[in-house]
């Protein structure tokens, strides 16, 4: 478990955050620039000392104001900086082994071969950092951090400086990290797709405070997140059970309905968590007919909130699960949608949610 409580001030900026994470987990730390994300990472790594608070990973306390302040070099926290920070005078292999040689002899969770394979570094070992692409540099920085045998991994916007093609290249590696590691990862990002694909928990920072935390569904409707990521963020996490699967298409029982979804590998009777975005759900006031893919759930509106001037976000209880759908204000009025209206939901798409238990 990672437990963090921090207070510090830097000039006019004050940071006061607290969050707890069960491991294994990928916590996405999101917030506008200047909201305290990197300051939080620096404090976790021991690169700056908070004025007050406590930081503990598992049962070791790394910082306790006035009593304990383990120096950064002994914290065993892997930090992948936004600018990679590879040592230019060392080869890729030299970079990778820098932390490994300095790790305590007892801790050998990661070995060069395994990490090189996990991150696809085999062919790069003999190269120098200036001969690498941005994505390769990031992967080496991640490998270097892992080989220092950390008990916590910090990633500061690992995809931020990369072009879309490089991002797509790196994301699968990050997914493998998430699925393969037994240590918590704190991941700073303000890219929605990264958060959707990687995070199991979200901590939303605004002006140095935790505005919301929990699973993606719980945080996704927070006004501060919408402000940050736009209305695209709204989503829910729902539980379902796979009824059957073939050809990559799985039939999943959700509430009292059934959805056909592409989920990759799925086993019958498998319990899955689904991430359903509001923008992927179409709301209908009548029962839709003649759909090619009858992904329809029926339910009643439980809440109808103005999302923007022209859009409403409808929360619908469909046989015990709550989904979100976006409706234009104009259509909502024309269809006389109110709380209690009976509606049909066409679920266009949903993805498997990597996160822990739904809140």
């Amino acid at each position: 478990m990672l437990s963090v409580r921090l207070q510090t001030t830097r000039g006019a900026f004050s940071l006061d955050v607290a969050f707890e994470v069960q491991t294994p987990a990928v916590v996405a730390l999101i917030g506008a620039s200047g909201s305290g994300k990197t300051t939080t990472l620096d404090a976790l790594a021991g690169l700056l000392a908070p004025a007050a608070g406590r930081i503990a990973v598992g049962d070791s306390v790394l910082f306790d104001a006035g009593a304990i302040d383990v120096p950064a070099e002994r914290r065993r926290i892997g930090y992948v900086f936004q600018d990679s920070r590879l040592f230019p005078h060392r080869s890729v292999r030299g970079n990778l082994l820098y932390g490994e040689r300095r790790a305590p002899p007892g801790a050998r969770d990661f070995a060069l071969d395994g990490v090189a394979q996990l991150l696809g570094l085999g062919a790069l070992l003999g190269r120098r950092p200036h001969q690498l692409s941005g994505g390769e540099r990031k992967r080496v920085a991640i490998g270097r951090a892992l080989l220092s045998q950390p008990r916590l991994l910090l990633l500061d916007e690992p995809l931020a400086s990369l072009d879309p093609a490089r991002r797509e290249e790196l994301l699968p590696y990050l997914e493998r990290l998430r699925d393969g590691l037994r240590i918590p990862i704190v991941y700073v990002s303000h890219q929605l797709d990264e958060v959707y694909r990687l995070a199991t928990q979200v901590v939303l920072l605004a002006n140095g405070r935790v505005a919301a935390q929990g699973d993606l569904g719980a945080v996704s409707r927070h006004p501060a997140l919408r402000e940050l990521l736009g209305p695209e963020a709204a989503c829910v996490v729902v539980a379902g059970e796979v009824r059957g699967a073939h050809g990559g298409l799985a039939r999943v029982r959700v509430g009292d309905g059934e959805l056909a979804l592409y989920l990759g590998e799925a086993q019958p009777r498998e319990r899955v968590l689904l991430l359903v975005r509001a923008r992927d759900v179409i709301l209908s006031a009548e029962e839709p007919r003649g759909l090619a893919q009858p992904n329809v759930l029926v339910g009643a509106i439980t809440a109808l909130a103005a999302e923007t001037e022209s859009a409403r976000l409808a929360e619908v209880d469909a046989g015990g699960v709550r989904l979100l759908a976006r409706v234009s204000a104009e259509r909502a009025d024309a269809l006389r949608l109110t709380v209690g209206s009976r509606v049909w939901l066409i679920v266009n798409d949903a993805s498997r949610y990597a996160g822990g238990p739904s809140a």
Binding site: L47, A72, E73, Y79, F81, P88, H89, Y98, G99
Partner: protein
């Protein structure tokens, strides 16, 4: 006739030995001074900075005189060295090296400082999160990164040290085979009737050495930069 006569050979070897010793002793101190000036904020930092750079602006004779006062057998440091260790610097080759070292000290400090200011502190932070303590970080990250600057500074100081005149002649005098380095031999030759040819040969030698030193410094620095992938 051999290319170099005995006088030139003596002066050349002596100059090389004096310059080499001066650089060997002042290099670590200059790195430490550059580090203090770049990385630490302390009271008197500006004064220390000025003191280190004084040899660049003062007449070298003044430096030689100051060394006489400090390191002469009656001076506070020289007296102690003489009494406790039986070491005399005045009128010796070691003294010539000391005077040369003081004069070229700011050259090394400047070069090292420039490189230190160019070091990305983020790399040291990264090393820190990877488990490297302060000395470890300095030895494995900072030092290799500033190596081009150290090398350039050392070579420039060495080349300049070959030709140090005023401070050496004031502090260590002009003793053949002991403190008569190239420029002192050149000066002596000019003072001697019929010494013109010797003086010309010594001058040419100094010119060649200086040029070689500066070129070597430039080439080596470029090679090292390339290794760091910055070229």
């Amino acid at each position: 006739m051999p290319l170099l006569g005995a006088a030139e050979r003596d002066a050349l070897l002596l100059s090389l030995s004096v310059a080499l010793r001066s650089v060997a002793v002042s290099l670590p101190l200059a790195i430490a001074a550059a580090w203090l000036l770049t990385r630490r904020r302390f009271i008197g930092r500006t004064l220390l900075d000025a003191l280190i750079h004084l040899p660049l602006v003062l007449p070298p004779v003044v430096i030689g005189y100051a060394l006489l006062l400090l390191f002469g057998t009656r001076g506070p440091i020289g007296g102690w060295l003489d009494r406790e260790l039986g070491v005399q610097l005045i009128f010796t080759r070691a003294g010539a090296a000391l005077a040369t070292g003081v004069m070229s000290f700011p050259l090394i400090v400047r070069a090292v400082r420039l490189s230190l200011e160019g070091v990305d502190r983020g790399l040291e932070q990264a090393a820190r999160t990877l488990g490297a303590g302060p000395l470890d970080r300095f030895a494995t990250i900072t030092l290799p990164l500033i190596a081009p600057g150290i090398l350039a500074g050392a070579i420039t100081a060495f080349a300049a040290g070959l030709g140090e005149f005023g401070a050496v002649i004031t502090f260590a005098s002009n003793i053949p085979g002991e403190t008569r380095t190239l420029p002192l031999a050149l000066y002596s030759a000019l003072q001697t009737p019929g010494g013109d040819a010797l003086a010309a040969r010594l001058a040419a030698l100094s010119f060649a050495l200086g040029l070689a030193g500066l070129l070597a410094s430039e080439v080596l620095a470029r090679l090292m930069q390339r290794r760091l992938g910055r070229a």
